[in-house]
Structures are given as C-alpha cells and as structure tokens.
Symmetry: C2
Subunit: 637 residues, 2 copies
C-alpha cells in the first residue's frame, strides 16, 4: 500500500486494517509490535531498545518506532490473541441489594401510562402540550422536556395508538435532582414491562456489565470482556500516551465503545430482549477510562499537577457516544475524586457499603494502581500508589495475566526448596483428565511464590536469592540469579519458568508502594493500622489473593484474617446501586465530594514509608507480629 | 440507471441527481414535472390530468404520476430556473429597534473573561470545576453546564492560553428562563468582540436572514433567497403531502437547511466573519415551515382537526440540524399559536409592536394564506383563511411571482377600456433604456387590474366580463370570456397576456376569504370593522399593495388610507427582537399563549361572511362607503 514518507509502520498497519498489539501504547518499550522488514532500505528504526543484535540481523523492527522512508516489504507475524478467563460471563446471577427495591421510590426512569383526549375542532392543542397536560394532571409531572428525535416520533406514535400510549420518562438526573423530567420514548399502550438498564465498570483490563431489570431490580445477565483498548496500551499511562497521538483518542474511544457494544449484544441475546429497551446506563471506571470513554483528552492526568478535565461528568445521550441502547437513554458516568482516584473508587466505596458502618475501615482496590480509602461513616481519606503492573504479571519475566496456563498458587518445601504449584486449568484438557501445563505466573501466584521463598529462606528479607542453599532451583541466569519454578519439560512452551532477582525487586517495590500508602493514610489521620476494624478488598485481583501470604510479604497489614473481606468488583456493584437507586446515586456523588485525596507524589512521608517497606515483610518487623512469629519458628528449626 | 419496478419516475430522477420542479408536491396537479417518454412500453401513467391528448401522443408523462414497469428511455426537458427579484439582499441596512440595546441587560449570550488559577499539587481541582468556580466567584454564575463537545476542548484550550480565556456563555433559554447557564465555547483571552447571532424567517416562498452583532444590536447584513423547498411544492399543503412520501420529509428538511446555509455563507462573506462566531439563531416561520425545518412530520397540520406536533419548540443545537454556525449554538424556533397561525404571526405581532398600543389594531399577513390578528394591548384574536395562492400569481392563467417581467400595476381607461401597465424592470434592459416586455401579472398587478376593470365597468360586481362593451380587449377565449392586458407583440413570449373569468372568480374567492376573516374576527368580539384604528400589514406581499385598489375590490376594509401601515417582514423583525432581547423573546411566547385562535373551517359564520364577500367589493355596499361613492360617480357619468 501507499504511505507518506515519515509515517510510522504502526500507523500504516492500522490504515491497512491490521491489528498490531501495542501494550506499551507505542512507546517502543514493550517490544510486542515487532515486525520483520524484508528489504531494509526503505525504513528507519528510531529505537531498537527491545531488539537484540540477532533480532536486528534477522530484520526485526518495532512497528511503533520505525519510519517509512521508501519502498519496503514488511512481514507482520501472527498477533497473539488475548485468551480469556473471565469469571463473570454468567447468566442470571443473583446479586444482593442492600435495600428492598421499589422502582417508584428509587428509580429515576419509569413507564407511565398516558391516556390523552384526542384532538378535536374544539380542542386543537398541539400534541406535545396535550401530552404534557396529561403528565401534569395524572402524574403530577410538570415541566416535561424531550429531545428532538423523540418529538419527531410523537405525532405518529400518538395517532397510531389512538392517543393511548406508554411514556418512558426520566424523572431527574444527578446534575438536576429536581428535574426537568424528560420523555425518553413513547411505547404502545399497556406496556408495564420491561424496562432495562445497564451498569458498566470500565476497567483498564476488563469491562464488566450487568443487564438489570429496572422494574424488579434484578440482574438478569452478567457479561465481561477484555477492554479492546489493551492492544493500544496495557496500563493507563500507555493509553494516555497513545491517546495523544494523531487519531489515538478517537480510536481508543471507539475501541471501548465497541467492547461495551459487544457486551450489550451478548447480554441482550441471552436475555432475549431488544437493546432499544435499555433506557439507562450507569458507568464506573477510573478517571482515564472515563475520559477515554467520553472522548475527553486525558493528557493532563499524566502530567504534573495531575488534573482531570472533569471529575463529575455531565449526563450524555447514548446515541452521542455510539452506545447501542436506546439512543435517547442517558449515560451517567459516575463521579471520581482525582486523576488517580476515579469513579471506580467512589462507586467501590458505595458498592462495598464501607460508609454504612461506624467501623474504621480500609478499602482497597488493587490493580495496576493500588487505590485505597481509609475512613468510616463520617470521614474518608484516599490515595493512589503507582504500584505498577507487577501484580498483573507485567514487568516480571514469566508474569502473565490470570488466564489459562497461569500458575496461581505455589508451595515451596522448606527442606528441599522444591516447589509445587497449581495452574489455572484449560477446561478442554481438564475434561480429558489431563493436567494443564504452565505458561507463566499470574499475580496471586507471584504473591504466593514470593511468600513461600521468603518464609523458607530461599530469599532474604531484602529479596536476595540464597545461592548457597545448594538447590538446583537457584541458579545464575542471563541477568543475575533466578529461582526455577517449573522446568522446561513441564511447561507449555518448553522453556523454564523462573523468577529472577529483578522480578523479585519489582514485586517488592510494588508491595512496598501499596503498604506505604496504608502507612501514609493512617499517619495523616494519626491512627495505627492495627486499629483498622475491617479491610474491604475490591477488584477481581483481590478475589484470588491468599491473605496469609499477602501479609507475609508485607503487602497487606498484619491483621486477623477474619477482618479481610473480598468483595469482587465493587465498582460494578456501586454502578448497579447507583443505576437502581437515586439515593445511592446521590451517595456516590457525596462520597466523591467528601473524600479527601492525598497526593502521594508530593508527599515526603510517602517516600520514607516506601523505603521502609522495601523489605520482607517490612523494616519494622513489629508491624507484622504474625510474620515475626512464623520467622521465629523457622529460625528455631 | 436501475430502478425497482413500481418506482415513480420522479423518485428515479431524484436518485439520479436530477432536480425536477414539482410545485404541487407531486400530486399530479400542476403539470410542471412533465417528461418525455421515448419508449412508452416500460412505464404506466397513473394520472394524465394535466396532459392534453396531443401531449400524450408526443410521449409526455407526469414524472410524479408515472410508474416504471420495465425498460424506458425518458427525456427530461430543461427545468425552469426560478428567477430572483429579492429586495432584501443588501449590506448594512439600518434596522430600527424599539429599545436602546444593552447586551448585558437584554442578551442571553455573552462573552465572559475568565482568569483561572492554574492547577498545582496543592490544588488539583479538575478543569471543569475550576472554571465553574471562577464563573461563580467573579460572574455570579452557578450551575454552569456544557455539552460534551465543549468539554472535549476544555483542557487543551485552558492550557494553550495559560488559564486565561474568554467564555461564550448562554445565560438562559426561553424554556428555562432561570438557566442553567451553558458554556457554549471557549475563546482566547481578551476577546471582547465579536459575538454574532442570526434571525431567520422561513417563509414558504422566501427565506430571509439578518446577521446581527449581539454586542451592538446592529444588523450587519441582510440576505434572502427562495426557499429551496419550492421545487417540491409551492404552498404548505403541497409540501406536507410531499413530506409524507418516502424520504420526503428528510429531503425537505435538508433543502431548507441548505437554503439557510447558503444565506449564512453569503452573509458571513460580506461581513468578513467566520460562521463559527455565530452563537445564536432565532427562527420565525409558519407552523409547517418550522415542522419541516426541525424534521417533525407535518401531516397532522393538514388533516382535521389540524393540530401541530408542537407549537412551542424546545431549543435545539445548530449542529443537530446541520446549520453551519457554531455547532453548540442554540436554535430557538419561536412559538406559534396553531397549525395555520404560526410563529411568523406571533413574531409578527411582536415585530409590528401591535401590542404596545391601546389602539384597536388589525394585523394582517397576506401570503398563500391570509393570517390576521385583531386586538390591542389587552387581548388578541386570530384566524387564518385559506385564500389560496391567487395573489401570489398561482391559479391565474398569466399569474406569476413578483419578479422581472411581471405586470405590477394596471390602469384602464374608462372610455376606451384600453389598459396601461407597469412592468417590474429587468435592470440590464433598463440600463440600456429599453422597456422590459411583460411575461405575466403578479399579485399587486392582479389587485390593480381587478379594481380597474371593476371600477370602469369591464366586469360587474359578480366578476362577469361585459362582452357588450365592444372592446377588442374583451373576447371569447378557449375557456370562456377573457380580457387582454397585453397583446402578444408587446410580451416577452409573444403570447397575449389575459385575465379570464375563471381567474377573476379565483381572485374574488381569495379576497372574499380574507375579508370574511376580518368580518368573523370583528363579529366574534362584537365590534364593527370601522372601529379599527390601525391596520398593520406584514409580509413582503403587502409592501406592494395599492390600498385604494385593494379596498375597491373589497380585499381590505374601507378605512381611511392613513390607517394602513406597511411594515415589511414583521416575522423577521420579531425574530430579530427576540434574538436581541430576552424581554421581547418572552413577549413572543406571551403573545402566542394569549392569542385566541378561531378555527374558521368549523365556523358557520365564516361561510356566511365568505358568501357575502363574493361580490365586488361586497354584497353589503354600506361596508364600503368610499367605493360606493366612486361607483356612484361612475354611474352618474
């Protein structure tokens, strides 16, 4: 194909409709967009950071860093498809609400029977005023408004159904709690059901959706899918960088809209409904995800002083965003607190019901970033630590996401230092009674592994591997010492699966950042972490953490295990409650407004706390009495 | 080209991009869409009403009435272009306002200087809240809102201009007089001008536009153009019928939008401004024009009981309608009263300042329909008479619009019965000192002619031509008696220009309908027409009427001439006042709300009054004392 001189190969590929994976967002850092240039004369490599001399000799180039300068033949290797292991793709899951649902009381959208007097020569009132008159007289709704597309169907629908219809009316929105009410649609007479809504959590990695019956409050269908933006950047920073490229923002916006539309397609097919019967959408997500979803440039989120365009987005119509539900349905993006404490956290706090109790509570959402909130029903303080994606498997040599083939738990024999592990099974192999060979280690596996090698003394408290153990598992690798978790003959790809000292260092920095966040939050309000009465853990990552091992590496504070509660996707739960109940919707706003935000990058105490946390479990062992006890037992034996 | 069996030739032509004139809206009534079918086998003529046997023999068919049933070769004759004689295409015309303009007091849209504190690590407030904070603190504007496209530019614009910008803010709209205020755009700092608006009157025949400086209140430019919908129907009924055809509504909507965009293009070029500097648009027009402009199906306007979809349209963004001004600018379609008393009349009443005086006033807008309002500052009563398009030159054999070549005034010698006439001149011929040969007779010419032949006795009071005069001007034509106004050797086309008894009958019916309207209005409030203190005549048609002659045929009531005031385009003037002054905007709504509407088609007294008015000047000559006097003088001589 034709391309202008100076175009990046990645842009040319996109124009040719070829989907290149770019997990780093096109920064030349991940090396995943490597292509083979068969005739090297016409291209110039700006960066080859991720390519070895052998790679270069073989013609490899990074598509995101290579510029077209003349004719070139480029071979694009097959792109690795992201495999799924999404647990929430289920039908008719029972979701428990913290209230007895009464749509008339709680729901802003309702079906309203409308019986109009037909016009006559004696009463030539226009259709719209006639409808408003009935709304006012029989439903006490004055000041009704409507969008132009709704008005365009008004006359025909009223006449088709002989002046008896059902109105879909949105009584108010978060930004105008007193209305004005809006006619969203007109349906045939006698319609008392259905009335659907969707709650969506746009995660950086996964987008999750509930299809909800707004009349009963029941979740009819769940669906989840990887965020289609992943191929343009694995973390929010990569995506922000990609968005600042020419056309990047529009592409990311359309990718996430496509993902949501695909989830809607699946959900409505399973529920056997029409997507135009969905009249409301409530969205949670971190601030970057919300910006990208709305097409707002996210650049200022990344640059000091880290501010968003808007923390409390205004309602937008689904049609304006390209979401395939009723085009006049409102899309309500929940409010966030700051650039790195977004609507996923304010919704998560409400979804977790953290504020319903007087107990001093620590709320925690660990993903690429660790966001945390400390408080009770009276006050809330929050912060975000850029833990990095180590616990999501990135930045670790054999790290991977929690999908098929990932080692998710490890046990190390304290005498032989030999490991045993459990792999996320491939259902097809499992059905045939065959074990699933491992491909790598996911977040929970890494926590488990780190704890085991620490407690058994394979590494010391600084994370250094003990080469003197005499175990063949500890060996000198290409880039320093490493511990072999699985030999090549056990693995899917035939290569050894290892954890290196560099990996261990990354993991310690990640857990250190998170624990330092707890410390600073507690210090800022003058309490001790031991006083925390409940730890609520949101996010799908949290669901698989082994608390004991997470405490042993100093990731979680050393509290009795029963104080930890894994709540799953609290952001989605919060979006659900806000979708259903205007009182809960109001609480999300209230939560976002009253939450104090601590900016850690401007905080010296954070840096001190972080440095102290760069040991296993911590420089101050007194903060981890249960771990001290285990270590004491080990040292005695 | 390919066409499905059963398609109308007119549809096929449209798909092929060929613009056929269809003044009757495709009803087969006008005969203007005639085409020549060279091979007749593949088509079927549904109606040939307007074709003679000779036409049929020559292969003629009406495109709007002919169905494709197989292969056919169709020749489309050159389509007559509508020639212009629009008087308002001028630059920098001085328009007088009835108030001293103060934009801060009257104007809803304003330029607001905004100096924001830049964000810092100590103040990470999001951009939107930061802007709202300044709006609230320094401009006392709380509750500010914005459309998504505006928010999408927010962060970039603020940073590009170092946190000092100029906001374009709309403080309120007619449907929400208390706000909320809306940020329409963000401009570079220090912008104190310009701020533009447009006032538009969408006439059935002509669309007129004022480009207005919202800071000074001055009209910078006027522009006018034939409504592009004309080729799809000359009157509102034809357009409504056309709109009900497949794709017809969308086509008519886009035709009028194209016309308005063309006027905007001309106006901004003359004023040397950018169309995106236009931040507000106010629109007047009859109810059908407003419906078509907004894309609302107008069908119910035509069918008993004649109701509109909406009389008080809600504000719509320019971008949603495809109007090429700032896409977030509001388009404010002024409110109407009923299907046939639209926003042109409520705006016209305000534009004419009818209600500013205690004097009993008759307001009149004669076009295809005659709309009239009687009242004073306390009460208003209105009605519409379907006068038909006779006074616009349609339905009269040699009738034409008031363009180049139209006879616009006629004098008849009371002894020889020979006419003298004045023709609307062709400027090119005029420049060379040559007379312009006539092509037909326009409305004012018809009034003048009718009055002259009546007063001179060429016709009697019932409109019958007096064959016994012995004048060669009165002769037996193809379809009855006719009076020759211009011999073929004087005319452009070489054919005689005549008025037939059928034409005369049509004109008498038209003037009778209008006068009957006056009578019913006056009767309904128990007054005599002679009590009327002022007659305000709006509409461009009115500007050319000779009052004396209009009274002599009984079109206008017999009042002293000084009571008649010709105001030109009162609808446009009303739109201008509403654009500039929120108080006047409110008056248009108030006028539309308080105006009583009399539906004449349901009124027996109208039929009686109409029958009585089917004479020249009227059955009851006592109502026309000045005419009686003239006739008395004539009879005495």
């Amino acid at each position: 194909m034709q391309a202008p001189t100076g175009a990046l190969l990645s842009e040319v590929a996109r124009q040719a409709g070829i989907d290149l994976n770019m997990p780093c967002g096109g920064q030349g850092r991940c090396g995943r967009c490597a292509v083979i240039v068969q005739d090297g004369a016409g291209v110039r490599r700006r960066s080859t950071l991720r390519l070895t001399p052998d790679d270069l000799a073989a013609g490899y180039a990074l598509a995101c860093q290579t510029v077209v300068e003349g004719d070139a033949v480029v071979v694009i290797p097959p792109q690795e498809k992201i495999e799924r292991r999404l647990v929430t793709d289920k039908t008719a899951a029972k979701v428990i609400l913290p209230f007895t649902y009464d749509p008339l009381w709680y729901q802003s959208v309702r079906l309203v029977p409308l019986v109009l007097d037909p016009p006559s020569m004696a009463d030539q009132t226009d259709d719209w005023s006639r409808l408003r008159r009935v709304m006012s007289a029989t439903h006490d709704v004055s000041d009704l408004t409507a969008d132009l597309p709704t008005l365009r169907r008004l006359g025909t629908t009223l006449r088709e159904h002989d002046w008896t219809v059902t109105g879909v009316v949105e009584m108010d929105t978060w930004d105008r709690p007193d209305g004005p009410p809006r006619l969203v649609d007109l349906l045939p007479p006698g319609r008392t059901e259905p009335l659907w809504g969707i709650a969506v959590d746009i995660g950086t990695t996964t987008v999750s959706l509930y299809l909800v019956d707004l009349l009963t409050g029941e979740v009819s269908t769940k669906a989840a899918e990887y965020n289609g933006q992943i191929k343009r950047g694995e973390d929010v920073i990569s995506r922000i960088i990609y968005a600042s490229k020419n056309g990047g923002l529009a592409e990311l916006q359309s990718l996430v809209v496509d993902t949501i539309n695909e989830l809607i397609r699946r959900a409505v097919r399973r529920a056997k409904i029409d997507p135009s019967e969905i009249y409301k959408m409530t969205v949670a997500g971190n601030s970057t995800m919300i910006h990208l979803f709305l097409g707002l440039p996210p650049n200022s989120i990344r640059l000091e002083p880290f501010v968003t365009t808007i923390n409390h987005p205004l309602p937008v119509r689904a049609g304006e965003l390209g979401i395939n539900i009723h085009p006049q349905a409102n899309v309500d993006c929940l409010p966030g607190v700051a650039s790195y404490v977004g609507a996923d956290i304010s919704a998560g706090v409400v979804g977790s019901q953290m504020c319903e109790s007087n107990a001093l509570t620590l709320f925690l959402d660990v993903g690429t970033n660790g966001e945390m909130v400390l408080g009770d029903c009276d006050w809330l303080i929050s912060c975000a630590c850029s833990a990095g994606p180590a616990f999501e498997g990135a930045g670790v040599r054999d790290g991977m996401r929690a999908t098929v083939g990932a080692i998710e738990e490890v046990w190390v024999n304290s005498e032989t230092y030999e490991p045993t592990y459990r792999v996320i099974p491939n259902p097809r192999l499992e059905a045939r009674g065959q074990p699933t060979p491992p491909r790598g280690i996911c977040g929970s596996g890494l926590i488990s592994l780190l704890s085991e090698i620490f407690i058994t003394g394979v590494i010391d408290k600084a994370g250094n591997l003990n080469f003197d153990l005499g175990s063949p598992r500890v060996r000198q690798g290409e880039r320093g010492l490493e511990y072999v978790v699985a030999w090549g003959d056990e693995t899917e790809h035939g290569r050894d699966i290892v954890i290196t000292e560099v990996d261990i260092d990354n993991l310690i920095r990640a857990k250190g950042a998170i624990y330092a966040g707890f410390t600073v939050l507690a210090q800022s309000v003058g309490i001790d972490l031991a006083m925390v009465e409940r730890v609520l853990i949101g996010g799908s990552f949290g669901q698989y953490i082994n608390v004991e091992k997470a405490i042993q590496i100093g990731l979680l504070p050393d509290l009795p295990w029963e104080k930890f509660h894994f709540l799953g996707n609290t952001a989605l739960q919060g979006a659900l409650l806000a979708l259903l109940n205007r009182e809960y919707r109001h609480r999300v706003t209230e939560t976002a407004q009253k939450m104090t935000y601590l900016e850690l990058s401007a905080d010296n105490t954070f840096y001190e706390a972080f440095t102290s946390a760069l040991f296993l479990p911590h420089t101050d062992l007194a903060q981890f009495p249960s771990v001290a006890e285990v270590l004491g037992v080990r040292n005695e034996t």
